[in-house]
């Protein structure tokens, strides 16, 4: 595979052909905020938190779905990007009901820690306070739509790692919902294998194991990495 040399925040780095800007940046120790990206499943560019600037273009592009190219000049921390990231984050918080103090994921949540690291001390938009359901019909797991950011990580692991295709999107825009099968209660799904991959892929408190209470739901990404590495590289991580 051909090597590509490009510049990111003034630092010259080399990457392999086909690598995303995000991967190459992380390998070089440059952190770009992400939310819908999950190690081991394909990227879809859903959350836009990883937006970067590429010299010569006015368009902002997601680092996770942009491939590196020779001579590319990428900026990840401009004032404009920081402003947009903060805006996106505030909109995510305003769109659903996030009450960290009483959430199963308090202290272990990717959304909560993004807010911390991007300096979000408050949300400047009026909260929408939508009325949303909590699906507790599954034997082992619960789904709380109040906490869902529609990143689609659950859908991708369910389809492409487990191969069950239970989880899906319904609706458009702010009325989008994660559904099970043909929008039926999760517990009545005939395709769900109860593998729990969606739960552990979920960055927030939206998917959780039943029986966990405030701050107890810690996601184990290691399990997903184990399976994906075994399948793709035929290596069993011990």
């Amino acid at each position: 595979m051909a090597a590509k040399v490009f510049t990111i925040d003034g630092q010259e780095i080399s990457a392999t052909e086909g690598q995303s800007v995000l991967e190459a940046a992380h390998e070089a120790g440059i952190r770009i905020p992400t939310l819908c990206h999950l190690e081991g499943v394909m990227d879809v560019g859903a959350c836009r938190l990883c937006l970067v600037e590429i010299a010569g273009s006015n368009k902002l592009v997601p680092a996770c779905t942009t491939q590196v190219a020779d001579g590319m000049v990428v900026a990840t921390t401009s004032e404009r990007l920081q402003r947009y990231r903060r805006l996106l984050l505030e909109l995510l918080f305003a769109e659903r009901n996030h009450v960290c103090a009483v959430c199963v994921s308090n202290g272990h949540c990717e959304l909560q820690s993004l807010a911390m690291h991007l300096g979000m001390d408050h949300v400047s938009f009026p909260y929408t306070f939508p009325k949303l359901e909590v699906d507790l019909t599954h034997r082992l797991f619960g789904m709380d739509h109040n906490r869902c950011v529609l990143c689609g990580r659950c859908v991708r692991v369910c389809w492409y790692v487990e191969g069950a295709a239970t989880k899906n999107f319904s609706g458009r825009g702010a009325s989008s919902r994660i559904i099970s099968d043909l929008n039926q209660p999760w517990g009545e799904s005939r395709t769900c294998t109860a593998c729990g991959k969606c739960v552990h892929a979920c960055p927030t408190g939206a998917l959780f194991e039943k029986g966990t209470t405030v701050g107890e739901m810690q996601k184990d990404r290691g399990k997903l990495e184990y399976i994906v590495t075994a399948r793709e590289k035929k290596q069993w991580i011990v």
């Binding site: 918080f93 009901n97 996030h98 009450v99 960290c100 103090a101 009483v102 959430c103 308090n106 202290g107 909560q112 820690s113 807010a115 911390m116 690291h117 300096g119 979000m120 001390d121 408050h122 949300v123 400047s124 009026p126 909260y127 306070f129 939508p130 009325k131 949303l132 701050g215």
Partner: protein
């Protein structure tokens, strides 16, 4: 230098933020060297005084009395701080907002469990009516600074107040910005 006038106020919150303030323990003596607490649940003053330097507001704006009080406080205060998650986001106090109005929670609390003479509290001029939508502080009045946490740990309050006392604009970062 003149002594600073500090006020605290307790709106729709559980008083946990005030408890956390008391957790500052001996640092409160340091604070007392440079500032007076002129109003709040820990002080016996009925009327919010004029020309207050800093006011820490615990809790969300949940009833009509809170709205009036906050407009008065905003006029008489130089630096207004949303103190804790209920003030910053609405938090637990705003859990009822998706229900659309105050009626379902009032009925659940006063009618559903009552055996004898079930009635909703109605004492005009004594019991302030609940707002249909609980407001984070910044949706009611302009706010100068935000101090998140449920409650904000004492260390975080101290870091924040120290910067204020030094005449700087407090700028919390990293773990000091964690909600919940």
């Amino acid at each position: 230098m003149d002594r600073l006038k500090i006020a605290t106020v307790w709106l729709g919150g559980c008083s946990g933020c005030h408890m956390s303030l008391l957790d500052l323990d001996e640092w409160l003596f340091e604070l007392a060297k440079v500032a007076d607490v002129v109003y709040g649940p820990l002080v016996d003053t009925k009327e919010y005084p004029a020309a207050v330097d800093v006011c820490l507001v615990e809790g969300a704006v949940a009833n009509t009395e809170h709205v009036e009080l906050m407009h008065q406080i905003r006029q008489r205060t130089r630096v207004l701080v949303a103190f804790g998650d209920c003030a910053v986001t609405g938090n637990v106090t705003a859990l009822r907002n998706p229900l659309g109005s105050a009626a379902p929670v009032l009925e659940r609390a006063y009618l559903d469990p009552a055996n004898l003479r079930p009635a909703l509290p109605h004492e005009p001029g004594v019991v302030p009516p609940l707002l249909d939508r609980v407001l984070p502080l910044q949706e009611a009045v302009p706010v100068d600074f935000f101090l998140p946490g449920c409650p904000p740990p004492a260390d975080r309050i101290k870091a924040f107040l120290q910067e204020l006392l030094a005449g700087k604009a407090p700028h919390l970062t990293g773990a000091n910005l964690r909600f919940g």
